[in-house]
């Protein structure tokens, strides 16, 4: 057991830290469009220095980083408060899926423009009727010669209005059992048959979109992993989503907790600071512990994956626990604020509202508990 970085890992971290120090582009400009272009340009900078797609194999333009190095990458980027690479879904999900399941031609065609942010990717999995029950999706694709004609509706699609490619799962065989008969397509977003409608959230922002597909066209060659084989390909995408995001999440929580402790110290209540209040103090300490547990579980999970090729039991818990912690943290922020909590006087109101989705997005807590109960503990399936 050794929780210090190896010399090689330390070198990786130092190189990255130094590079980030030197190249940090400063604060993101106001406005959605300006922000988007800023992040696209940042990704180009990353790419040129070899810091885009660190987990990708070197042969496909990545850095071939170990899992620990990927974790370090996520921690450092978050700690430096560097902007997110704009093509987050392409880098974290689309690229790895094409690498795992795509043909050599597809790898040549799609990977480089993901890294360079020339082509932005989005994800078309969820539908209004199929939330947790993803395999029940209804978007239909029919083959017409060398093309597929797709009709249906997708939801929770980030970056849709900027995206060139959509990872689209559609039903190609309506008669097959629900987990079969699905096919994974790369759909060109640049066609009139694809309509994008922003979907505002309870925060007031529109982070997501709805996609309306009315006989959209996809060449047969854009299938990834074979016709009717969409379910396992989609699972690859989702596993990459959870694995890659976990590290950023735990570090974000630690940063947020630091800010909350600062808020507690600077908020005056009844003559003292909120941080001196025994109950606030106890809740902050509990959050501190839980955020550490989150971090430690994540590292333990990494070690397990590196040794055994698959995540250990603690690997299934991060997303769920993170949602619990982040919700408790943002609720405490309002309690600290006192009557000021009635006002949207700082960013905490947004964070508090945004956190309500944490236990829903990327797998609801209920579904994650099902998965732990069934796959880790071996309890019988209900359905």
């Amino acid at each position: 057991m050794d929780l210090t970085l190896s010399p090689q890992e330390e070198a990786f971290r130092d190189e990255l830290r130094g590079w980030l120090d030197e190249h940090h582009p400063g604060a993101e400009p106001e406005g959605d469009e300006a922000g988007f272009e800023f992040r696209r340009s940042w990704q180009k900078t990353l790419h040129q220095a070899g810091w885009a797609g660190v987990s990708w194999p070197k042969e496909y333009g990545g850095r071939g980083a170990s899992l620990i190095e990927q974790a370090i990458y996520n921690e450092e980027v978050t700690r430096a408060k560097a902007p997110a690479a704009v093509n987050v879904l392409g880098l974290a999900m689309g690229g790895p899926t094409v690498i795992a399941h795509g043909s050599e031609e597809q790898r040549k065609r799609y990977l480089e423009p993901i890294l360079s942010a020339e082509e932005i990717w989005c994800q078309g999995f969820s539908e209004p009727e199929s939330g947790s029950d993803l395999a029940s999706l209804k978007t239909k694709a029919e083959r017409h010669g060398d093309e597929w004609v797709v009709t249906g509706q997708k939801v929770w699609t980030t970056l849709a209005h900027h995206a060139k490619w959509c990872m689209l799962v559609a039903r190609t065989d309506p008669d097959a059992p629900k987990h079969q008969g699905l096919t994974y397509f790369l759909m060109d977003m640049d066609q009139d048959a694809v309509q994008v409608r922003p979907l505002a959230q309870i925060t007031g922002e529109a982070e997501f979109n709805e996609l309306f597909l009315e006989e959209a066209r996809i060449p047969h060659a854009n299938i990834v992993g074979g016709e009717g084989n969409g379910w396992p390909v989609a699972i690859t995408t989702l596993m990459h989503e959870r694995a890659t995001l976990a590290f950023g999440l735990q570090i974000q929580v630690k940063i947020a907790l630091g800010e909350l402790m600062e808020k507690a110290r600077s908020t005056t209540v009844n003559g003292g600071s909120a941080a001196e209040d025994e109950i606030i103090r106890d809740r902050l300490a509990q959050l501190y512990i839980e955020s550490e547990v989150l971090r430690l579980n994540a590292y333990r999970g990494l070690t397990h994956t590196m040794k055994h090729g698959v995540p250990g039991p603690e690997g299934s818990l991060g997303k769920w626990q993170w949602a619990d912690v982040n919700q408790a943290l943002t609720e405490l922020a309002l309690d600290i604020a006192g009557p000021q909590a009635l006002l949207r006087s700082d960013d905490w109101t947004y964070r508090f509202l945004r956190a309500r989705a944490n236990s829903i997005e990327g797998g609801t807590t209920e579904i994650l508990k099902n998965i732990v109960a069934e796959r880790v503990l071996g309890l019988p399936r209900l359905r």
């Binding site: 947790s132 029950d133 000021q340 009635l342 309500r356 829903i360 209900l382």
Partner: protein, 364 residues
């Protein structure tokens, strides 16, 4: 012993429910919250005034209905259920404090207009750097005796821009009445957690005010009635969110079944019932105690505000989780309820502050 509403109270409940359901449909709620500057229309206020609600807690001597706090919470629960954006509660708060003035001549001057709905008031309590206490203020009047002036800033004052007068709390429990349009008075809209209740920052600069003479007991009771009314509103909010969640759980299919068949959904719904009914019981009790058992009403009101405040939040948060992604969209109505519930938890002393009062009063 009869822990149930009287026939008259039921009639008030039914009237309120029907009136609000007809006038404050979800589209209207949304329109008022997002588009209407003051969050309500004059016509809506007029309709409310015709029901006599502004005079509900005003004594008959001052032209009101002279009803009790039980009647107030009956109406207030329905308002929460409908989530009707209206300055009613702000106005009631002002009326309660004026009524607490008893023989006070300022009160006697304002109350008849309040009773008819012609003169609308609100209450400004929190100093800009206030703590959790709902009544603590550092504001000390200037000016000469008998002609006080106020200088300072109050935050989170509901419906201030639509009020004809503002009851302002000061140091040592003193309260003052300031008229809209008084010199040095500035009212600025502030963005609120809850978009269905307009909040303003109110700054006073040597603003002339009239002091209300309030006996401490009477002042205390006015605030307890106000927090109990707020608790009742949270009960209504929780009731509605619970109904939305259970309806959705019956309809929404996942994995070949309505999601309400899964205990991961049905047990949280049962918990919503537990908390909503508990909040209703303790709120009704507090209201009854305010009307009939002044000795226990302090403790009862603190319990009601604390328990109902938490219940409103927990029920609406759980209801959002039951709804999943759709509940997180702005186009679904649930978030308005969630925001109101959370705001109510914090307003006029949060749950923890009221628990501290419970500890004091219950002899912990």
């Amino acid at each position: 012993m009869n822990f149930d509403l009287t026939d008259d109270q039921r009639a008030i409940q039914r009237t309120a429910g029907e009136f609000l359901a007809a006038r404050y449909k979800p589209e209207e709620l949304r329109r008022l919250a997002l588009e209407e500057e003051r969050g309500f229309t004059d016509e809506q206020w007029k309709a409310i005034a015709e029901l006599g609600w502004p005079g509900l807690v005003v004594s008959e001597a001052h032209g009101g209905l002279g009803l009790g706090i039980v009647e107030l919470v009956v109406v207030q629960e329905q308002l929460g259920y409908a989530l009707a954006p209206t300055p009613f509660l702000s106005d009631v708060g002002a009326a309660l404090l004026l009524e607490a003035g008893g023989e006070d001549e300022t009160a006697a001057e304002y109350l008849p207009g309040v009773a008819t709905g012609e003169r609308r008031g609100t209450v400004a309590v929190w100093d800009a750097d206030a703590g959790w206490s709902p009544t603590h203020s550092a504001l000390v009047p200037g000016g000469e005796d008998g002609q006080p002036t106020l200088t300072g800033t109050k935050v989170a004052v509901a419906d201030a821009a639509a009020a004809d007068f503002i009851v302002v709390s000061g140091a040592d429990g003193r309260h003052f009445v300031v008229d809209a349009g008084a010199s040095g008075l500035e009212i600025e809209a502030t963005e609120a957690l809850d978009p269905t209740r307009r909040l303003y920052s109110v700054s006073l600069s040597e603003t002339p005010a009239r002091e209300l003479s309030l006996a401490p007991e009477a002042r205390r009771r006015a605030y307890e009635a106000l927090t109990t009314a707020l608790a009742a509103e949270s009960v209504g909010v929780a009731q509605r969110a619970m109904e939305m969640a259970t309806e959705y759980a019956k309809e929404r299919q996942q994995f070949g079944r309505p999601i309400g068949a899964y205990q991961a959904i049905s047990h949280p719904c049962a918990q919503m019932l537990l908390e909503t009914e508990g909040a209703r019981s303790v709120t009704l009790y507090a209201a009854w105690a305010l009307d009939h058992e002044p000795d226990t009403s302090q403790l009862a009101a603190a319990m009601a505000k604390s328990y109902a405040g938490e219940a409103g939040w927990r029920v609406t948060a759980a209801a959002l989780q039951v709804h999943g992604g759709i509940g997180f969209t702005f186009e679904h109505d649930l978030h308005f309820f969630l925001k109101r519930a959370r705001a109510n938890l914090h307003a006029f002393g949060d749950s923890r502050w009221h628990r501290r009062r419970v500890a004091d009063l219950a002899g912990v």
